[in-house]
């Protein structure tokens, strides 16, 4: 079915979301990117591909994830009813696995025999190592040396899963440098290697296919809220780093114009200080294969992002978010480290759920907004991941020695 003027038909055939997206890669990679697009188009219309994807999501990942009515949080805030989409209950503890399942099926379809990925905090690395183990493919994860040092538990998890973890010593030694290094490795190994990108960024068709694989979140949430409440929600809220969990929730609702949509950017120490809010504090530019809002200086040099949440600590944002921001369909709000930290603790105590620090940013925005809305309103917040990985960071921020 084709909807006139639908917001759900981006990108165009060249991978552009309005003025954003595209394929800004070295010539060596272009033929492979075009191959990937061709193969993805074939997979999209192949019922066997869709069936296997759905089978794995159900029986391996544990989908559908519940939509939980957070009664105590709702009562505490005294406003709109808050539902949590429980991506934290997925295998490996976050939404990342949805995309990894889809991409490894594409890798197998293309006959690629090696898997690579970048990771920041290690969540996407763990999810990639997991599916690589499941499919019996050798896997190399690129991770900034600084992140390797501060995320040892995830490094060990990846190694247990059979992945090789390469500590990247270039640049600032964090996520963007890990992505640079993964791209460098890929250029030299395009013939046999598939790059599983972890978010809705990179050259076309990655932002599109990652979104499509993550859209299971919004598709489920839509059916679940209709079943629970008999109507659509008034608002969606999700955290945005690169933005894959957020676009996954948002995309199936983009044409429901009565549903207000809020993306939450990491404001770090505040927008005047170090932060990771690419829309609030960045300008359009080109990095990692796409055009989007970037934190950069007046010469186009990329500046370091900062967030207490390693998963939001990236100086860019997916191109579809850049477009949704420009056309005003989605409103993007900043939440600071301190606000996220407070909400992290509140959700633990009120709902018995330890959220990922990424997700705590969305909870903080919900806490700000819900009291301003009537009790007849409904908000769905994407609880994108669980917070076990973050307990060391939180303890340190709270001055607790473990």
């Amino acid at each position: 079915m084709t909807v006139q003027n639908s917001l759900r038909q981006q990108p165009d055939e060249r991978g552009h979301f309005g003025a954003f997206g595209g394929r800004y890669v070295a010539e060596t990679l272009m033929p492979l990117i075009l191959d990937l697009e061709r193969e993805y188009r074939a997979a999209q219309i192949d019922p066997a591909f869709r069936d296997e994807f759905n089978y794995l999501l159900k029986h391996y990942v544990g989908r559908p994830s519940p939509l939980w009515l957070a009664q105590r949080l709702t009562a505490e805030l005294g406003g709109a009813k808050i539902y949590l989409k429980r991506e934290d209950l997925n295998h490996t503890g976050a939404h990342k696995i949805n995309n990894c399942i889809g991409q490894i099926l594409l890798a197998r379809r293309m006959g690629k025999t090696k898997i690579i990925a970048e990771t920041g905090a290690g969540q996407h690395g763990v999810a990639t190592a997991t599916v690589a183990a499941l499919f019996g493919l050798p896997c190399t994860i690129f991770m900034g040396a600084v992140d390797v040092a501060r995320q040892q538990p995830n490094v060990f998890r990846m190694k247990l899963l059979g992945a090789e973890v390469v500590a990247v010593d270039s640049g600032a030694k964090t996520l963007k440098d890990a992505m640079n290094e993964a791209l460098r490795h890929w250029v030299a190994n395009v013939h046999d290697t598939f790059y599983i990108i972890g978010t809705v960024a990179g050259p076309h068709p990655y932002p599109e296919l990652v979104r499509d694989f993550q859209s299971v979140i919004g598709t489920e949430a839509r059916a679940q809220i209709l079943e629970a409440e008999g109507r659509l929600p008034d608002m969606l809220i999700a955290p945005v780093g690169g933005g894959s969990n957020a676009i996954g929730l948002f995309h199936p609702f983009l044409d429901d114009t009565d549903v207000e949509i809020v993306g939450v950017e990491a404001a770090g120490e505040g927008l005047d200080g170090k932060h990771a809010a690419s829309l609030a504090g960045g300008v359009p530019g080109i990095l990692h294969g796409n055009k989007t809002y970037l934190l950069q200086d007046e010469d186009g040099q990329i500046t370091e992002a900062h967030s207490i949440s390693a998963g939001l600590d990236y100086p860019g944002i997916g191109p579809e978010h850049a477009w949704l921001h420009d056309i005003g369909r989605v409103r993007y709000e900043p939440v600071t480290d301190a606000e996220a930290l407070a909400s992290f603790q509140r959700l633990c105590k009120l709902e018995g759920i330890i959220p990922a620090l990424e997700s705590a940013h969305a909870i903080a925005a919900a806490e700000r907004i819900a009291p301003t809305l009537g009790k007849d309103k409904i908000i769905i917040v994407n609880l994108s991941g669980r917070g076990d990985k973050d307990i060391f960071t939180v303890a340190e921020a709270l001055g607790v020695k473990l």
Partner: protein, 268 residues
Amino acid sequence: MTRLATAFARARGRAALVTFVTGGDPTPADTGAILDALVAGGADVIELGMPFTDPMADGPAIQRANLRALGAGTTTADILAIAKAFRGRHPQVPLVLMGYANPMLRRGAEWFAAGAGDAGVDGVIAVDLPPEEDGELGPALRAAGLHFIRLATPTTDAARLPAVLEGAGGFLYYVSVAGITGLQQAAQASIDSAVARLKAATDLPVVVGFGVRTAEQAAAIGRVADGVVVGSAIVDIVAAHGAAAAPHVKDYVAGLAAALATAREKAA
């Protein structure tokens, strides 16, 4: 005839020597003397690298050079000033800017094309702007009278080559390995066949780079290609000697130039 066309014509009977250094490495003030050393050593074409925080197509040597240059405070204005001063000292030697799209497009393609044109730059190589995405920079450069130099790679097949060549100017840069700068070198046989394939498809000079370090390698490529690019090996010399690198650079480049001068006679 443009400066680039003249340089390749003048090199008749041998391959042109194309040399790369990163602008601002080790500091913007030192780059002029290093560029002069390239010319004094016998370079025919100069590639001046524009430093970028995220040089995704470069190996460790040029990555570090980018960081050194940025650490020294190198700006886009510095790069254009270095180019303009070079043009003043060397009216005939072609100079090409090489780098990544973001610094080039930050203030708009027209701004960059005008600035490069004013500095006497002859052409631009943008590593991460494939033909599919050159709608801004390519037309702006051509309107300003500059060449937009395209890259072909081992993965550029016959079906794709015409798109790469459309709007290409100056020379065609053949990236001889599927990989990043400064590491492995391609097998000579694969270079020979690729150059033959490319020369059949274009009248532009075909220049081969990536992984070329020694005079022997340069000579072998120079027997078939219109030009040879050497970059990381020179950047390594700059890394080792810093502000005192110029005489070492000149000696090294002179060795490459001598090897190219006789490469085809020896082969014949």
